[in-house]
């Protein structure tokens, strides 16, 4: 029997400082843009209209920021999370340049932390992943940590290195796309009149709409990002015969649903933290709510930044955590991100 297939890496295959060049660069374009709009109820005007994007100082409509995220992330799966037990968190995510139709993205990850778990059978791996275009420009950088199985429980534990990570990306470190200018922003065409000054920290917005998810949809999406984790596609992988929906699919659904109330939170520029609180399955009806955490200025004309908590939930459950601080069972996602909004 051939042993040429990829078994994925196990915990003992990682070492701090190791750099992994992930396989299969990917050119994204008009087709991915159309599919993104078919898969998610996305209506953000900059990503929907070349004319609107140009009126905001951009050359054209870039691909949705989450297309960049999913594509860069997808490439890391065969090397980072094929044998992962859990996707534990994100930090220090920054979008560094827009992705234009025709750009080719590739990914690279550096191992920045390792910690074997006390059970001796798994460990936590921290990687800093960078997405880059065909011109060698970085388009995205983020830290992600996952719990990975050991191949051999008797393998010695590596030295523990836990990276120091910022709890929040400082507003001053957000990268504003070149040329972005919201001084002539057309609120009518964008869909809502609310500007940065209309949002108050602590304000909660229930996004009204819901989407009942189908198997075909999440698989189309997850394949499009070339994410190869078996549990998303193969119904025989779990005892209950269910396919686990890629957490990023829930991020995109929730972000798209948040248009209704946050239509002007246009471009995602920072990912502060994120938790996939509970699994999502086909048949679930996903809803979302957002909480305004803070707002900030940026040097770009007319452009402010808004920090949002985006929560996705299934069914009609309310609330976020139980008394012990554990996510309630209906909570799917708890994401902390920065977006740009006209002031």
């Amino acid at each position: 029997m051939s042993t040429k297939t990829n078994p994925g890496r196990f915990f003992e295959d990682y070492s701090v400082g190791q750099v992994i060049r992930h396989a299969v660069p990917r050119t994204v374009g008009q087709g991915e843009r159309a599919l993104y709009h078919a898969l998610y109820p996305a209506r953000g005007a900059i990503y929907s209209s070349d004319a609107f994007a140009q009126a905001c100082g951009l050359a054209a409509s870039p691909l949705d920021d989450l297309v960049a995220f999913h594509t860069v992330f997808g490439k890391t799966v065969p090397d980072v999370s094929l044998n992962a037990v859990a996707n534990l968190g994100y930090a220090e995510g920054r979008w560094l340049a827009p992705v234009w139709p025709g750009d080719t993205l590739s990914s690279e990850s550096e191992v920045i932390g390792l910690k074997q778990n006390s059970n001796g059978r798994t460990g936590v791996v921290w990687v800093r992943t960078t997405g880059r275009n065909q011109r060698g420009e970085d388009v995205l950088s983020y830290v992600r940590w996952v719990m990975v199985r050991k191949r051999d429980a008797d393998a010695p534990a590596p030295e523990t290195v836990v990276p120091t990570l910022a709890g929040v990306v400082d507003a001053a470190d957000l990268v504003i796309p070149k040329g972005l200018d919201f001084t002539g922003y057309d609120f009518d065409l964008a869909g809502e009149p609310h500007r940065l000054g209309d949002y108050q920290p602590g304000e909660v917005i229930h996004h009204v709409d819901g989407v009942t998810v189908e198997e075909a949809e999440h698989m189309l999406a997850t394949r499009l990002w070339q994410n190869t984790a078996k549990v998303h596609f193969d119904a025989t992988q779990r005892e209950d015969g269910k396919r686990l929906i890629y957490g990023g699919h829930v991020i995109s659904l929730a972000r798209a649903l948040s248009f209704n109330g946050l239509a002007n939170a246009q471009m995602i520029v920072g990912l502060n933290a994120g938790a996939h609180a509970n699994p999502c399955f086909a048949g679930d009806t996903v809803r979302a709510w957002s909480e305004v955490i803070e707002t900030a200025e940026t040097p770009a004309p007319g452009v402010g930044a808004i920090r949002l908590r985006l929560v996705a939930a299934k069914g009609d459950g309310e609330g976020l955590r139980d008394d012990a601080g554990k996510y309630l069972p209906h909570v799917l996602l708890d994401l902390d991100y920065w977006a740009l909004m006209p002031v």
Copy 2:
């Protein structure tokens, strides 16, 4: 709680003469073209092949006329039909210019009629909607009327204004795309030998094929047109747990099915009337038949016009209306439109 989400307009929010600039312009292109062909069994040669379109005098293959319709229509939903009880009719629809890959479409509607219903809880709103490209050219115009809920049953009724609408778009008013020339039309490549003179008023064509519809398909389509009506996506909106399929999805299915027998009814240029007779749900097998109503000349070389009734039905039911003139339960759609065909 934030009140920033869009509750939609209620009957008392409309006034005759009011112009609503709808949100979120949309750039459509190669991706939408491919998805249209994946979602519907569309085979019309002008929309399938640049080379064929060029041989007919066009610069390239435009986007399907119904992509223009759905995109322009979709933008009106948040302002016109979010609180609609029923989509009552269409009239005076004309396609005014082809939509080319890369074009950005936006929509505007003028309220042209209002009539409160005798129950005092709903009213009928007539709007004339215009779709426009990024060059400011009108690409589509049509009248649509919907029954909309009142927010407050006690709000006073507006003055009744019922617009006078043409029952049929006059053939002389149809706009033929610039340069269109069917004198060198290749019937082999188009798929059928039948030309305008081969069709007789009263002739009925059963289109043979059927499509069993899936939830994922109609949701992908309806999202692609950025139609935001909740009933299409959220299985918890109706007591029976069913998602109502967007009526336009049925229009596109039926039109695509009509290729078999009407392969040369190439471009839609007029929408005379339309009724969504009964709801369509996933699992229904949709079939279609057409009746030739009349034919007409046009000034373009080799180009004639054919007026067709297109009926979509589910299952094996036959017939259109019962003795009382009500649509039979299997009838989904009854559409009256003009298309261009080689003479």
Copy 3:
């Protein structure tokens, strides 16, 4: 009742030497590329990345070879297999030029063989189909034979002509895309280190991953190729209410799954033989394995050819044939093809 719809051809409608120009040329582009990646877990680097393709000497990333195959094949269905009882085999398939985004493909078939079956109700039709682009260049040629119903069992049998077909395309006859050069091939980016010399005839590779298939997916794909066979779309066509999945969908699934272990089997250039062993239905979990049959040199720098048997199976069944030589019930596909691989 109109008789303008296409009833398809029956056995007695074919004659040896007859050339059929199939309808509806099709322009394929970025949208089809994106959909291909959404529908299949395709990761081949040349088809995923313009930059990678350019580093291999090509102008850009061509469309997947199977997009060419499905598109050319789809056009033949209304003329060749609408009344087919079975798709019996393929031979002498050669890819003759890459298909670039924006190319328009059309198909033509020549009837090269006829043999009435002894039951007198069906017969076998052999056609050689050629796909051509808008520049008049052949892009694909293959022989296919199908069993077709007779319209009239009493119609006289035609003279039997059974074409002599090569069991295998000779490696010397494979057409290497102009400019292809694997001397600077980046194995890291391609996803695996294995080169031609690492594969041995007889080696078997189990491709590890599986995909549980959904109705929406196979219908989206099959429509995209404008394949009009009713059994793929209409759940009322079979007594068991199942929609038969287009055999080509299984080919693409299996080929995409084979990335894991054959990431460097980049371009398909020859189709030696193929059997759709058993029907595939929604809900089936498709897996694949490959057997290396032989390897060969090519005149292109750094480019070798590998001949592979690709088998798709559903569920967990093992093995290929029973003692009587019949395919086991879990076997879906048995395909014999040539691909290009770095030496």
